[in-house]
């Protein structure tokens, strides 16, 4: 069988230089961004949508819970906080496996048909972000000056107003919790690939695309996507930071 093969590396004596990948990746990233390639933009928008959705859901569930845990005294409080902190180290692929066993047709939640959909990825990401947001919010609330609560109560604040006051005082810590949660889920691949299936045009996120391209030996392309992801995360964080600082006026 006659076979045509392509040229080898332009550096035959030195072999494939690893620096090739990095330079190619940087120029590749710019080329990808400005090419307005629909496939790349679909991937990027999906990553953004999934990560934002998961962070929002995990925050809506987690911040009130964290506030209650941080401000009340009860038996087993320390143990609970330790558990949340430990769950921050959950490997993403383990979360993926765990959710798969529920979402698979064989599992109890199979009828929801969430497997291999973006919503399935969001579910896994909520589980990943939740302990992070809760743990960090508890720490943030704990670090609020106790006089803030005392002042609010003495001014006649209702419990709801007290909680709002304390959370406002803790807002920098809260922001850190949200950034961390968002960062964790936008960068993860283990769960997204398991629950999403990396389906082209449907559940392929930036990270699962990087995994695919790397497995195909397309290292420069994989790195270029990685750079795009960082730029995306930078833009999101920058936007929220602007909102945060401008709200102080």
């Amino acid at each position: 069988m006659h076979v045509c093969t392509g040229a080898h590396s332009p550096f035959p004596l030195l072999g494939k230089q690893s620096m090739d990948y990095i330079f190619d990746a940087i120029s590749g990233a710019f080329a990808l961004i400005f090419s307005f390639d629909t496939e790349v933009y679909t991937i990027v928008l999906l990553s953004l949508r999934v990560a934002l959705s998961a962070t929002v859901v995990a925050s809506v569930l987690g911040i009130p819970l964290a506030y209650v845990v941080a401000t009340r005294e009860f038996a087993g409080k320390d143990l609970l906080i330790t558990i949340f902190n430990t769950l921050m180290a959950l490997p993403t692929v383990v979360v993926g496996l765990f959710c798969y066993s529920f979402l698979s047709r064989r599992g109890p939640l199979g009828f929801l048909e969430l497997l291999f959909t973006p919503s399935g990825i969001i579910l896994g990401d909520v589980i990943l972000a939740f302990p992070l947001i809760v743990g960090l919010t508890i720490a943030a609330v704990h670090s609020v000056d106790p006089r803030a609560k005392a002042t609010a109560v003495s001014l006649g604040a209702s419990p709801r107003q007290v909680s709002v006051t304390i959370l406002k005082e803790a807002r920098f810590g809260l922001m850190a919790a949200l950034f961390n949660g968002f960062g964790r889920v936008i960068a993860e691949v283990g769960s997204a690939i398991m629950l999403g299936g990396n389906i082209r045009g449907y559940t392929r996120t930036v990270t699962t695309a990087i995994a695919l391209e790397t497995s195909k030996g397309e290292f420069a392309f994989g790195m270029a996507l990685g750079i795009i992801l960082l730029v995306l995360a930078l833009m999101v964080n920058f936007t929220f930071r602007r909102l945060q600082t401008t709200s102080r006026r």
């Binding site: 069988m1 076979v3 045509c4 093969t5 392509g6 040229a7 080898h8 072999g15 928008l45 999906l46 953004l48 949508r49 934002l52 959705s53 698979s104 047709r105 064989r106 199979g110 497997l115 291999f116 973006p118 299936g197 990396n198 389906i199 082209r200 449907y202 497995s215 195909k216 030996g217 936007t239 602007r242 909102l243 401008t246 709200s247």
Partner: protein, 273 residues
């Protein structure tokens, strides 16, 4: 900063709405990463969609997982290249209507200088014997894929047992592409399907050393519909239409015409005969 908030709200709305997919019939196909990486599915399935309006979602994973997803009913149809596993799958009642769609051959690849003299071997068994004798690295898939099962059967014929534990036998546990990369780095040998190797040939310094169309190295691809009696919710109709398409004269011609960027044909259509 009302303007900024409005921009943000609009952005978030766009992002969320971008996710809503149109209502279109979908079919879930599990296949192997090597099959997907050849680009065949990306070439073939749009033709199927144009003809039938069915959008096929491809979940490309290892052979074992592809069959497991089919067994669990998480996909509607599966396309793999592991005849013994496929037969077991059908015998157990998980799949129906297995059809052989296409085939290629496994090839033994290694360093272009071929220190073990694999190229001069008369058959695959002798080639493997030479590799074992040379002490040079052999990278195994180690992942129960079709390629792995084939490679293991050759080792059993040649050595009587698997060379597990020998320091020259490296089990990557990874897909074909990554295994080729490891073989390249280690300057060793491996067994690969021809399609994947041709795709990777410009990325690795390996050469196709043993290329003979023998029964031992035959690599047929089978497509199987998930048994609707076991998994009533699957899109059985869509699965049968895909199988019909791939085994039709039109589908078979498309498969036979599929070439990589260097003009090599990657698959031989089977169902036409």
């Amino acid at each position: 900063m009302k303007a900024l908030r409005t921009i943000l709200a609009v952005l978030m709305l766009t992002v969320f709405l971008a996710g809503t997919a149109a209502a279109q019939e979908r079919l879930k196909l599990s296949s192997t990463t090597s099959t997907d990486n050849t680009g065949l599915l990306a070439y073939l399935l749009p033709e199927f969609e144009a003809k039938t309006g069915i959008r096929v979602d491809v979940i490309a994973v290892g052979t074992g997982k592809a069959l497991k997803l089919a067994e669990n009913g998480d996909v509607d149809v599966t396309l793999v290249h592991a005849p013994s596993s496929e037969q077991a799958f059908v015998d157990a009642g998980f799949g129906v209507n297995r059809r052989e769609v296409m085939a290629n051959y496994f090839v033994i690849v290694g360093p272009e200088k071929d220190p073990a003299g694999v190229g001069a071997a008369a058959n695959a068994e002798e080639a493997f014997r030479r590799i074992a004798g040379s002490g040079l690295p052999f990278v195994s898939r180690g992942d129960n894929s079709g390629t792995h099962i084939k490679e293991q059967s050759i080792w059993k014929t040649v050595l009587g047992d698997l060379p597990t534990g020998k320091n020259w036998y490296l089990e990557s546990g990874k897909g074909m592409g990554e295994t080729l990369t490891i073989a390249d780095e280690k300057m060793g040998y491996t067994l690969s399907d021809s399609g994947t190797f041709l795709k990777y040939s410009d990325k690795v310094d390996l050469g196709m050393l043993f290329v003979k169309a023998s029964d031992m190295l035959y690599n047929p691809y089978g497509i199987i519909a998930v048994n609707p009696a076991r998994q009533p919710h699957v899109n059985y109709d869509g699965a049968m239409r895909l199988i019909a398409f791939m085994t039709s004269p039109e589908g078979q011609k498309l498969i036979g015409d599929f070439k990589d960027k260097y003009g090599n044909t990657l698959f031989t259509p089977l169902a036409g005969e």
